[in-house]
Symmetry: C2
Subunit: 424 residues, 2 copies
């Protein structure tokens, strides 16, 4: 079940693993106290990259998909976490409506919906799937593998509520990242619990806000366990608004990349790291459709200018320290993806991409998913085992990093809550 | 992993299974609402017996032992439930002291302690084991299998608190059923959380109080899902104080047994059950050392009179409808034992006894324990599978019955709380 870990078995990452393992009671207590003050996002998946010398979350998804990749052995943890989450939010809940993405043909995505439906049904809710896809005009059933089927029903809007025919939910679970903006049909649902809230959508979120919050979390965590926060925190620069079609814009970008690369080089030198540093250039806000670019030298940026005409006008850009992944499965580059529900790590898998390099984004067409025994592993570290030699200890560490990212998302959602002033 | 279930595959138990499965969302919601009003015992194990036509809890243990029989696959659920429990009771907790039974040689029991220590350590606590055995005068380490060891440390009492050397816990976990009475060293610990409370001990508990509470729970549950509560509730009679050495006492007992047997026969007739009814005679309060006796006819009671001289004076007796177990593993009689922590089913196993009959108590020397895939199973019922044919569905049903017993224990602890008037 456990993949061959080819992560470097010596060096800073193993010290980090040892430190995290030794500090386990303090870490768990710290999380407990944080969750007293901050509400976890309802669910979340975190892409983690392990460079051997550094470990960091690179993407925190508040509308996690691909739940179908969780193995049956992991499901009970998800069900139990779902029970805990529902109990806190709405113990009297009977009916849950899942609002999915608009895919109707993508069977991977539909299997993801079937898995979510299973988890919440097992947790004791009646679950229906309400599509906001205008093409879904009537109840539509799509057959999946293993005799499973998904029925998409058109969402019906009434004042302050949504539902589907003969089904009035008290809670709406969004599995649609709203990157195309918030549709009117989801606005002003004052009579229902909408989870996660609309401002968790990519039309509102900014990478820079998330990573600013993560930086704060990582610093406090570093202090708690006595390690340099850089070991778990990618440096970044909120480059601001850049117009790729202008020389001014490109100069600003080049300067930003050079400054960030210099900072990374300094850190690499401090730790005696021989790898070539790189920077990732991405949109601060995801909804503009701009891709993720890996830059090892600011000279490579010229490529961006060529693609600039596709992007209209100035773009909000974030530059982020790239984190290599040194994990591999059968020669393919791999990165762990950790799944969380409420405050609990409930599972995970490896995203594996045979055609990508260790410094490239793996979340791209061609990726495969390898289920992992995360469920057993993250909760069952083995004290006393040599760092790097124990998969459960490594997965415990991944679970901790993923929870730090989830905590950062919680800070982020508080900071960006449009109704926050109402509570103040 | 799943045992061969030889439970009758037709008849009332399969209808019950179907009804429970169909009502899953309603059942889970009902539990959620109950746990809003009532605090679950911290942890608990429930012996369940399945007669094919009837399913009932026969023992609800508030100081569960034998945790070592839970498989590694079940541990993550226990850890996650322990996290949830601690978070509610004392999120700022750092240190947990386990107060065990006084065994120092029983390696099974010591392995149980090692497992509990593991669960709470993984949940993020520093755990030590503080013995109240007067023979433990200094820190004593006992080696177990697989390189594990248990260190028993003498409990140190200070005003309002207990601890062990250099270790001041905020929470005390009792794993000692206090059947010999509450030792003074555990009284008046007003500055610490004592879990479960002292009145959960067998020196205070009465079987009749528990089963009275269970009867109430079973009736409400029966109404919820539309089944006769008798299908999950053993009839009982709190016989009162009986002096076995007197003819008056024996007459009273005989009358009680006859009346109860007649009631059971009536129910058997109603359901067309051909089995021979029987009654279990046991002490209402466990601490007097009286055994459990199976009585098929009141004439068999004469045996009790012979053993009477061993029991001094009048005894509080409870008569309970015996529940057969029709489950077997490899010809040995078996009964499931379900483990719960906080409000969650976290695992279970089969207790198997090759030398006992289907109407006898299996919790006796010679019993073996067969771990079961309860963890995966109780949370993962399979809707649409024929009743009796799906182990996960059967285990889900067992988990429901065990939770009913736990809920009854919660009612019981409220009713017997010596400090209850302080809150009124």
């Amino acid at each position: 079940m456990v993949p061959h870990l080819v992560t470097a078995l010596t060096g800073p990452i193993n010290e980090l693993e040892q430190r995290i393992l030794d500090s386990m009671p303090a870490i768990e207590r710290w999380f407990r106290l944080e969750w007293m003050e901050h509400t976890p996002p309802f669910y979340c998946s975190v892409d983690v990259r392990n460079a051997g010398f550094k470990l960091a979350p690179v993407d925190t998804n508040l509308f996690p998909v691909a739940w179908q990749n969780l193995t049956p052995a992991m499901l009970p943890l998800a069900v139990q976490a779902a029970m805990a989450a529902i109990e806190k939010i709405c113990p009297e809940a009977r009916n849950l409506l899942i609002v999915p993405q608009n895919h109707t043909q993508n069977t991977f995505y539909l299997s993801n919906l079937a898995q979510l439906r299973r988890v919440f049904h097992m947790a004791g809710l009646n679950v229906r799937i309400g599509s906001i896809n205008p093409a879904i005009k009537k109840s539509t059933t799509i057959e999946l593998l293993h005799g499973e089927a998904i029925t998409l029903e058109p969402v019906i809007r009434t004042k302050g509520r949504i539902g589907v025919k003969d089904f009035d939910p008290c809670t709406i679970l969004l599995n649609n990242d709203l990157s195309a903006g918030v549709p009117g049909i989801l606005e002003d649902l004052h009579e229902q619990y909408l989870l996660p809230p609309l401002h968790a959508g990519w039309s509102t979120r900014h990478n820079s806000t998330h990573f600013k919050c993560y930086e704060e979390v990582a610093k406090r965590f570093g202090k708690l366990i006595g390690v340099d926060a850089w070991l778990i925190n990618p440096l970044f620069d909120r480059c601001g608004s850049i117009d790729f079609s202008t020389d001014d814009g490109m100069q600003q970008l080049t300067r930003g990349v050079d400054v960030l690369l210099a900072k990374i080089k300094k850190k690499y030198k401090e730790y005696g790291i021989k790898e070539k540093p790189f920077v990732v250039v991405k949109a601060d806000n995801r909804s503009n459709g701009m891709g993720i670019m890996t830059v090892r030298d600011s000279k490579e940026l010229a490529v961006l200018q060529k693609t600039a005409p596709e992007l209209s006008g100035p773009q909000d850009i974030i530059l982020q320290e790239g984190v290599l992944t040194h994990e591999r499965m059968h020669d393919a580059v791999a990165e762990p993806v950790v799944y969380l529900m409420d405050r609990y790590v409930v599972g995970g898998f490896y995203r594996v991409h045979a055609q990508r390099n260790i410094d490239e984004n793996l979340n791209a067409p061609g990726a495969r998913y390898v289920p992992l025994a995360f469920a057993e592993s993250t909760h069952l570290p083995q004290p006393g085992v040599r760092p790097g030699a124990s998969a459960p200890n490594r997965f415990y560490m991944y679970g901790v990093i993923a929870r730090l990212a989830m905590l950062a998302a919680s800070y982020e959602l508080e900071a960006t809550d449009p109704e926050a002033e109402n509570y103040a």
